[in-house]
Each structure stands twice: as structure tokens, then as C-alpha cells.
Assembly symmetry: C2
Homo-oligomer: 341 residues x 2
DNA sequence: AGGTATGGTTTAAACGTTTAACGCGACGCT
DNA sequence: AGCGTCGCGTTAAACGTTTAAACCATACCT
């Protein structure tokens, strides 16, 4: 690989002049600039990013890690998210370093190592939770990061999130418009922060419609197919006049569990039971019936996250510091067929 | 961030001594070593990887890029693959830089830029094809890489691949054992190299069973749901005694298209028509009926790819240079129910 | 004429490491 | 006593950049 010295020699100037031409700083005569550019062209020279990084004390790398996807589950948006962040970063001459998070308890070690060795200039933190240790650590050491998701309201940091409350509200309103009154909600455990926002959307939309919260309609479970499947039987054990005719699930995986259990119980999904999922995983449109779901604006999240992070890295305050994006309800047959009967 | 100089000052030695302690080279007395280690501990020092990289002329980064997943399609194994490579790399003190491939024609530009700026020490090249320009380029400039997938047989390079031929053979044999004789194949277009290997598995298994290749059983289409859906109607237009009772599809997405089309045509998948997919996407087990599919040993592919690549980066010849792994047939109800009737 | 801007260029230090080369005292051998 | 050898440590150069500072014409101003 040619270095800046080779270029300097070729163009008969000092390395400083070459550097000035490269960075468009200093003052260089047109004639010399031409000569340098020709030499660069001839040698196919490109500046070494490592050497630049040492001098500038930056790596131009953004760290991004996610927990391994448990077997039998899928990560509906990972590929889109990585792709959009990688693309957004590249446009600004940054790159994304994806690393695997080990188990939560020594997760911080990996972050700390990246910070101390100057491997990355900042982090994207997905999948946040209340009292998130990663966020706590980064705030403590004052290292740049942007979270995809919210955390403790008292903590002041930059984040981008998708408005689960508004999303689920929209889903519930959609069901109400179709004539549903007995709408159930398959929620996540109490400790899920994201789940809280989404459940809040269910509650407020039901309340706004003047429907009181029925005993047994809200069920909580882990994000597991089997748990969703079983939840349906709990609902079916309710007295017929109190059985839900529609279900809003916190994720597509749960929605699939609901759909299959309903099918096995002899209900026709979309007619006897409306189902709404969350995430709009690519497969939802191929399910029978196709699943109505809330699509997250992932490309936008990626772009924004990166833009904000790079501002922070450069010491700018990143405005705005918090962004809440609305998901979009994609209506398909799992709800559309359910009649206003 | 403390530097090696700070440590040296703290321990009252020269920076060279600190470096020797860090790398376990040179000869350092136990007493001095202790002193240095204490200083390192006290300051929380970790060597700056950029500075190390400049000195060693390496980035300890592995580049990995994939083409964006088209809308309405899914990448069944991306998350597992990235995770396993990231993990394997980290164990060897390397990291994975994921970047987004632009359109194929200027894809090489991105690779060339990474090579010239010394951003990465090597590449993982997924999704290979015949006459792959990325491979051609890297061979030409002699830059280390390992491909996930094969390419021109005349080209000599390191690769890891999953044996599509053996996989589809296993699928066909499984169907034969169940009593199927009229087995169709939904293949990819001629220009798909991976598709060729898989189709070859179909042909050889059929041949070995003494079944002649029936006109119209093999259909080719792009990897699109709609195309698979339509293919079923082509088969159903065959005379009843020549209609396939089983289908092997090149991907899970195609298999889903087949399942849905069969369902809509009044056939019961698993009984009237057996279906096999490829990839074992996480959702397959939740389909109705659950889809029999070929699971790729992704974790192993990731581990091997990284191990081989790092050997190459260090100038070792990487033994073995080519690895073919067998996929495993995961039998589910989409075939299991089809009776030997 | 002498002084001061100004434009174009070079010199050299710095970024944080590694490592070859050297220095030096102690030890063992003849 | 003189001479390697060895163990332990330091000095200094190097990796490929950027950039402050210095330098040197030339031109301009009084």
C-alpha cells in the first residue's frame, strides 16, 4: 500500500502539502495541488484510517451489540436495523462494529473494554430496560451513546424510540371501529419496560372508548409461542358472554401463538377472533390469515440514531435529544374480516 | 484515558518495560513486573488498539457485508450468522465490521476502499455466485477472505459451504421413504449457483431411486412468495395421475408459498401434499402445519469461517481450505402426516 | 528603503504503541 | 585480571497521519 510519503516523493513535495491537499486545509497553489492529485491518482493512494485515527484520537467506529436471539424465537427487525445503521454510518464515514453480548452480568465488561481500548467512539444501545446497566455505565463514564428505547425518566440521555402506546392505541381503535367491544391484551411481564408502554396504549384506548377493564382480559406472559398458545385457553374458559372477540398481542410471535391456538380450538381467526401483532415481521403477510401488525419505522430509527450519535461524538448536544416515532398499523385479514356483527 | 506513559511513570520504569510486561516478551524481573501490573491495575490502563494497530499494521477487523433483504422477503439466518462470527472473532481478539453493500455494480468500490484504507484485515464473503466479482477482486489483489459459499471451481480460495446437494437428497429420500413417488422440485433460476447444487441433489436422489424425471415437475422461479404460489397451479394443471404429491422447495419462503397455494386449492398440506423447505427459518415450526426444513449449521459455519480467515490473515495456509458441512433435515408435520397410502 | 502582510511550502513534533539496539552490572570461566 | 555471557533495563526509531510553527519569497505600504 502506498503511503503519504510515496505520494509526496512522487509529487516532489513534502508530506504536509499532500495532507493539506487531502484535507483541503492550509494554502496550496493550484499547480501543486494538481501535481499532488495526479500522484495520488497514479499510485491509487488512500489515507490509512488507523494512522488517521491515532492522530485524531478516534476510531470512527460505532459499537452495536444485541443479545443472542433465543432458539425458537426470531428477531423481526435485526437485519433492517443493522442495515440502516450501517448505511447511515457509512454516509458519514463511520462504520458499525457489531459484537455479541454475553450474558447480562458480564455484558458491561465488553462495553468497558471497547471504551478503554478506544475501539469505538460511541454506542448504539438497543433493547433498553429500566435501570439499564449499560446506560448507567456509559452515563457514569461520560461516553457517547444513543439508545434505541427509553429507560429511567430521571436519566438524561439521547434516545430514539417507537411509540408503543400510540401504536397499540391505534390497534385498539381499529378493532373498535370494526365493532369489537370485548378486546383482550396479551402483554409482557411487569418488568418489561417496552411492554408497559404498549399496555398503557391498550388501557388508554379502552378507557377512551368508555369500556371498563374486564377481569381476565389482560394476560401477561414471556415472549414465547407456547405461552401465547396457552393464554388463549384461559380466555376460552371465560363465560361465553365475556370471551374476547379480539386480541392485541405485544409481538408477532405471541400473535402467531394466539392464531394457532384459536385455530386449533375451532375458531376462525379474522372472523371469530381478530388478532393484531407488533413488529410486522416479514412473515406476517404470509400467515393464514395474514396478520395485522404494527410496523416500526426501522430505517428512520437507524438513520436518526446514527445522526444523533455522531453529533454527540463531536461534542454537539444532538438536537433533538429524544425522538418518539409512531409505528404504522398494517391492516390485513386477521382483523379485516371480522365483521361489525 | 491513561496511556502507556502514565503507567511507566507510575511504576517508575520506561514505556518499553511496560510493553514487555503487557506482551509477555523481553525479560522483566518479577519485582518490576509486579510493580508494573499494580500500576496498570491502579490506573485501569488498557492498551489503545488504534496505536497498536498502526504499529502492527493491522486493524484486527473483519469485514462482512450482505445485500439488503428485499421487501417481503426475510433473511432466515442473518442474525445467527452475524452473532456466531462476532463471537468467534471476539474470542480471538478480532471484531466484525458489518457494512451495507450498495448495488452490485459499485459493490467493489466499497471493498476496495476498505482494503486501501486498511479498515479491515480480511473479509467474509457470503452469498457467493459463479464469477463473483468480489472474489475475483480479492484474489487479484491478494487480500485475505473466506467465502460462505462456493464459486468458480478453477479459482483457488478458502470457503465454507453447506452441502445443498446432500441436503436435498436427504429430503427426497425422506419423502421416498414415506411412499411418495411423484416428487416435484421448486428450483431457483439457472444462474443461481447455490440453486444448482440443491437441484442436483433432487436429480441424483430421484435417479438413485430409479424414478425418471417427469416433464413439468421441476419448476424454476425467483425467490418470491408469489412465484411459488403460482407454481402450484402449474402443477395442478397436470393430469391427475402425474400431479406431484410432494414438493421440495429451495427455500422456506418458497415452501410457504406452496403451502398457502395448496391450502387455497383445497389440498391439505401434510396429507395431500407434502412440502419441504430449506433454511429452517425460526418461523417454520409455527406454520400450519409446521414445515419440514433443512437446517444449516450456522454456528459452525461462523466459527469455521472466522478461524480460517484469521489463519489466512496471519499468513498461514488455513487447513483445511475448503469445508462442506451437511445440513440436517428437521422433520415436521408438513411431511410427517403424508401417509404411505 | 524598511517594515509588514500574505501565500506557499517545509520542518518537526505529536498521537500511543512495539521492538531492535544498546548499556550496564553481575557472574562464571579461563 | 580479563573476557564473554546473561539478565534486566533504557533509549530511540518506527508505524502513517495531522498540524503548529517556522521559513522564505514576493508584494504592498508608508
Amino acid at each position: 500500500m502506498p503511503t503519504i510519503k510515496d505520494v509526496a516523493k512522487e509529487a516532489n513535495v513534502s508530506v504536509a502539502t499532500v495532507s493539506y491537499v487531502l484535507n483541503d486545509t492550509g494554502s496550496v497553489s493550484d499547480e501543486t495541488r494538481e501535481r499532488v492529485l495526479r500522484a495520488i491518482e497514479k499510485l491509487g493512494y488512500r489515507p490509512n484510517v488507523i494512522a488517521r485515527g491515532l492522530q485524531a484520537r478516534e476510531s470512527r467506529m460505532i459499537g452495536y451489540s444485541w443479545r443472542p436471539v433465543p432458539p425458537n424465537q426470531f428477531h423481526p427487525i435485526l437485519d433492517k436495523f443493522i442495515h440502516s445503521t450501517a448505511e447511515a454510518a457509512a454516509r458519514r464515514d463511520y462504520h458499525v462494529l457489531t459484537f455479541a453480548s454475553p450474558q447480562p452480568y458480564d455484558e458491561i465488561d465488553v462495553y468497558r473494554e471497547m471504551v478503554r481500548t478506544a475501539r469505538v467512539d460511541g454506542f448504539i444501545i438497543p433493547n433498553t430496560n429500566l435501570n439499564d446497566r449499560r446506560i448507567r455505565y456509559l452515563l457514569d463514564v461520560g461516553f457517547p451513546f444513543v439508545a434505541f428505547g427509553r429507560s429511567d425518566p430521571e436519566w438524561d440521555f439521547a434516545w430514539v424510540d417507537v411509540d408503543g402506546t400510540a401504536g397499540v392505541q391505534e390497534a385498539v381503535n381499529h378493532l373498535l371501529e370494526l365493532g369489537h367491544q370485548r378486546i383482550a391484551c396479551l402483554a409482557w411481564p411487569e418488568n418489561s419496560f417496552t411492554g408497559r408502554y404498549r399496555l398503557e396504549g391498550y388501557r388508554s384506548a379502552m378507557g377512551a372508548a368508555g369500556l371498563r377493564e374486564e377481569e381476565g382480559w389482560i394476560l401477561r406472559c414471556e415472549n414465547l409461542y407456547r405461552a401465547a398458545y396457552d393464554a388463549v385457553h384461559t380466555w376460552l374458559a371465560l363465560p361465553p358472554d365475556r370471551q374476547p372477540t379480539a386480541v392485541v398481542a405485544m409481538s408477532d410471535l405471541l400473535a402467531i401463538g394466539v392464531m394457532n391456538a384459536a385455530d386449533d380450538a375451532g375458531l376462525e381467526v379474522g372472523r371469530d377472533l381478530a388478532v393484531v401483532g407488533f413488529d410486522d415481521a416479514p412473515v406476517t403477510e404470509y400467515l393464514r390469515p395474514p396478520l395485522t401488525s404494527l410496523r416500526q419505522p426501522i430505517a428512520e430509527v437507524g438513520e436518526l440514531t446514527v445522526a444523533m450519535l455522531i453529533d454527540l461524538i463531536h461534542g454537539k448536544p444532538s438536537s433533538p435529544a429524544q425522538v418518539l416515532l409512531k409505528p404504522r398499523l398494517i391492516v390485513r385479514d386477521s382483523t379485516a374480516l371480522s365483521a361489525r356483527s
